[in-house]
């Protein structure tokens, strides 16, 4: 590691000294490097899981009941031990780790977590536990980005943003879907983003996906049959899938959170036993129903190809839901992305198959409902409706599907949010001692705009052709300390009462304001701008003209610090309960 560190340090020094590359350009370049590194690591992660899986419960092993019974238990137990004693940073959700890096630890994600997630998740998922590799991949991306950011000695602000950039690379490489990766990070991790951040996230996700496709090919996660919306009446069936997806995702969140709370408060010996017992339960079910083992992409693939009847699809969804909840609560390493996709797919297929059998309006094959259902449960659990919509759109490459997916996923998201106010990751984060902000809440938090605080009209305005004495008189009458000065109501400056007083004392009271005083420029603001943005301006400009956007010469009002304080309730008499 030492020579590598030295190399990076030199590169970082060079790039800092280089006259051609500023911080923003270096950040963009680093995003590509992060994408490539994350892509390489995630490719290795993917292949290692596969190797592990081939040698345990896959293929021939799948037909040996003892192998299927014992491997998930052994894998879960060993992986748990590793996360407790060797890689403590590999415990918990990768999304929460990334958010913690962004909001709390100045972009620091321990590299120990990358190694730990790689090894522990490989053992746990490879041995058949029903978890997904995407969340670990996301954390690996964030960890690699954080390491590279430290090597490149980024500024504090950029260091904070580097973890989400890496997370996008990790998830993009895991899903092989760049748009989904970008949207997920935007929707779930970064509440506020600038064009520069978006550019970096896109670059890292794209470079990671390119690397993945270079090594693993550009096949999608599952083979998607042609989709056609046979009748618009079917949208009711898709709405039903969304409704049930929302209900079940809310229930699933509560179930997981409740089980996890119990597991956390269990005695230490039990904590070690739980992943083993969960693995045994999974293995016992997996003997008869191997579809629930592992991430479940093969199961989704089979469902998409109409292999199962509707009631078996519902059974698979239910079993996966319970087994994933049990393993996740027990502390078995691995993510929840793939299982939620599996559950949604089975749920969609089950309801679609049922409708297909009993309702004349449902004429599409069951596989169409499987495809639409894939993102439904995900939207409800992770509260990322846009990601879920684009994920299905990106994997199916079908434009026709967008309509039913939008209906289904949005309903699921809304129903789930109505029944369960906090998302699964948020509660899990709190259980792990991380009180992280919810992007959803941040997005929807009430915001004051200038319109809410400004004083309407022109009471604080003087004309520049008035005499200084007249202007001073008016200001005294108003009790104003500063005022705007308008020349023809289009060019705005501002003056203080003290300026007028000293001018009068100097015997220039008869002169016009424009002649006697040197004008001070102001910046125009508009009523729709946020009050926070106006606060930045109120330092150098104590009074701001609020102008109309559609009629640039029209003054709508004025804004001062007092107005802002009044709008926020500062200085008012209030008692804290």
């Amino acid at each position: 590691m030492k020579p590598l560190n030295e190399l990076w340090s030199r590169l970082a020094q060079l790039s800092r000294k280089g006259p051609v590359m500023g911080e923003a350009q270096r950040f963009l370049l680093l995003s590509i490097i992060i994408g490539i590194f994350s892509g390489l690591i995630v490719v290795c992660f993917h292949m290692t899981i596969e190797f592990f899986n081939w040698n345990t419960v896959h293929g021939a092993g799948q037909r040996n009941w003892l192998v299927v019974l014992l491997w998930p238990a052994a894998g879960g137990g060993v992986a748990y031990l590793l996360t407790v004693h060797v890689f403590p940073s590999a415990r918990g959700s990768g999304v929460n780790f990334t958010k913690a890096a962004l909001y709390a630890s100045d972009g620091y994600v321990p590299f120990n977590g990358v190694t730990g997630k790689f090894i522990a998740s490989t053992i746990s998922i490879g041995s058949g536990n029903p978890m997904g590799p995407e969340d670990p991949a996301l954390q690996m991306g964030a960890g690699i980005a954080s390491l590279l950011g430290r090597m490149f000695r980024l500024t504090r602000d950029n260091m904070r943003l580097i973890a989400p950039v890496g997370a996008a690379a990790g998830i993009g490489a895991a899903f092989n879907t760049p748009i989904t990766a970008v949207l997920f990070v935007m929707e779930e991790v970064v509440a506020e983003w600038s064009t520069g951040v978006l550019g970096s996230i896109v670059l890292s996700a794209v470079s990671a996906v390119v690397v993945t496709r270079w090594f693993l090919g550009d096949d999608p996660l599952y083979s998607v049959p042609d989709f056609a919306l046979s009748s618009y009446w079917e949208l009711f069936v898709y709405a039903a899938i969304g409704l049930l997806g929302g209900l079940l995702s809310a229930w699933f969140t509560r179930f997981v959170v409740g089980m996890r709370a119990r597991a956390i408060s269990a005695p230490t010996a039990w904590k070690y036993a739980l992943p083993v017992l969960a693995g045994l339960a999974v293995g016992a079910v997996g003997i008869r129903i191997p579809e629930i083992l592992g991430a479940g992409y093969e199961g989704i693939d089979s469902a998409l190809n109409d292999r199962y009847v509707w009631y078996f699809l519902l059974l698979l969804g239910a079993l996966k839901m319970v087994s994933t909840a049990v393993c996740f609560s027990a502390g078995t390493p691995g993510g929840m992305f793939a299982p939620t996709l599996f559950i949604g797919a089975m749920l969609g297929g089950g309801i679609g198959g049922l409708a297909h059998e009993y309702l004349p309006l449902a004429t599409s094959p069951a596989s169409a409902y499987v495809l639409v259902g894939i993102g439904t449960f995900f939207a409800g659990v992770f509260r990322a409706p846009m990601t879920s919509i684009f994920m299905v759109f990106e994997t199916s490459a079908s434009y026709v599907i967008i309509l039913p997916v939008m209906v289904s996923n949005t309903i699921s998201f809304l129903v789930s949010r109505q029944l369960q106010h906090e998302s699964l990751l948020q509660i899990v984060g709190r259980q792990d001692g991380l009180d992280l902000p919810s992007v959803e809440e941040a997005r929807e938090a009430p915001r004051l705009s200038i319109e809410d605080a400004m004083r309407k009209g022109d009471q604080r305005v003087l004309r520049s052709d008035w005499s200084v004495s007249e202007a001073l008189e008016r200001m005294r009458a108003r009790g104003a300390e500063r005022t705007l000065v308008g020349a023809g109501w289009s060019d705005w400056t501002w003056i203080e009462r003290g300026d007028l007083e000293s001018t009068v004392e100097a015997g220039q009271g008869a002169e016009s304001v424009a002649e006697a005083l040197r004008p001070r420029s102001v910046i125009r603001v508009y009523p729709d701008q946020s009050l926070e943005s106006a606060l930045w301006l109120l330092g150098p400009y104590p009074i701001l003209p609020v102008m109309s956007r559609v009629n640039p010469g029209l003054l709508l009002g004025t804004l001062t610090l007092e107005d802002v304080e009044r709008a926020y309730g500062i200085g008012q008499d209030r008692s804290v309960q």
Partner: protein, 355 residues
């Protein structure tokens, strides 16, 4: 980064190699099981092979075939649909899709798939597969009652595939079934030049001529066929031709008297045939209402038969007999609707003379 890239490249190389090995192992087992007809186990092995290498078209195709053969039509249809999307000109995929569409009664869709299969890309033995597929298409067209399309397909088959003689013989019989008698006759005539010792070719030629109503030229073809290989059906056809010949007053090298006798015999057979239609079971039966003109003609013919004519009037009588035969025969379609007497030789002869 370069070191990690190289390491990943090496690792990925090993990964793909191992994946291909494991997938290949399962695929081989699956193929053996499918060949042995054990489709359930073959499908399991195919699934295993695909779980290692999902993108492999050969595995996907084998799997879809096994699903089809085992009756898993629904899943087979989906798998084949995907295969077609990724490889639209794959003839095997299109043929299986055609068979599936045919099975579910979607004839037009099946015809489309068959045509794509015929002109598509066959991974092995393209000529034989194309011909087999064309015949499957022809059978579908026949079953769907599209006779013109059948003839067109057979003509295209002859034109494009350059079939060998045995296949051309088969095509000839298909043409006969499709009522393309002239085309069939031409084809069999050609075949009698190339494989003159094939009884089937002569039989085909005889049938083609017979279908055209030319029993005279059909007869030697049947006789030639029987000389090469005895066959009950061909023997029956020869007897039919001989029956028609023995009844034919216009047969070559017959004297006037002999022709007159035959015309009288023909008139009697026509009487008998039509009488059976009008009154098959004696007086009690009320047959279809015959027009008065028929009875007039009937009585006139009977009178004609009863007359003893001098030699100079015999030729005139012969013409009159034949005219009456045809006059009476014209009533056949209206009279012989419910019951009729079987007289294939008469039918053959009058059918020909009517032509």
């Amino acid at each position: 980064m370069a070191a990690l890239f190289i390491l990943t490249q090496l690792y990925a190389g090993y990964f793909h190699q191992e994946r291909a090995r494991l997938a290949g192992k399962h695929f081989s087992q699956a193929s053996l099981l499918a060949d042995a007809g054990d489709y359930a186990l073959a499908i399991e092995q195919y699934r295993d092979a695909l779980s290692y290498d999902r993108a492999n078209l050969e595995y996907q195709l084998g799997f879809a075939e096994a699903l089809y053969d085992s009756g898993g039509y629904q899943e087979a249809g989906f798998r084949l649909g995907q295969l077609r999307a990724s490889d639209p000109t794959n003839a095997v995929v299109n043929r299986l899709l055609a068979l599936l569409a045919q099975r579910f009664g979607r004839a037009n869709e099946a015809i489309g798939h068959y045509r794509t299969a015929v002109y598509g890309r066959w991974p092995a033995d393209p000529e034989q597969n194309r011909i087999r597929t064309r015949f499957e298409l022809i059978e579908l067209l026949e079953a769907d009652g599209r006779n013109g399309a059948v003839i067109g397909e057979l003509a295209t088959l002859l034109e494009e595939e350059r079939p060998d003689d045995s296949l051309r013989k088969l095509i000839g019989f298909r043409l006969l079934e499709a009522k393309a008698d002239e085309a069939a006759e031409r084809l069999f005539e050609e075949l009698t030049q190339t494989i003159p010792k094939d009884a089937g070719v002569w039989e085909g030629l005889g049938r083609a001529r017979l279908d055209r109503g030319d029993y005279r030229s059909a007869l030697p073809a049947f006789e030639r066929s029987l000389a090469i290989e005895d066959d009950e059906e061909v023997g029956r056809l020869r007897a039919l031709c001989r029956g028609a010949r023995d009844l034919d007053p216009n047969a070559p090298r017959l004297g006037l008297r002999r022709r007159l006798e035959r015309s009288q015999a023909l008139l009697k057979r026509t009487f008998a045939y039509l009488d059976y239609c009008v009154n098959p079971f004696g007086e009690a039966f009320v047959g279809p209402p015959a027009p008065g003109s028929y009875f007039e003609l009937f009585e006139a013919a009977r009178d004609q038969l009863g007359q003893r004519l001098p030699r100079r009037d015999q030729e005139q009588a012969l013409e009159a007999n034949l005219e009456m035969v045809h006059g009476l025969w014209d009533y056949r379609n209206s009279l012989c609707t419910n019951v009729w007497n079987e007289d294939p030789a008469l039918l053959l002869l009058l059918g020909e003379t009517a032509r």
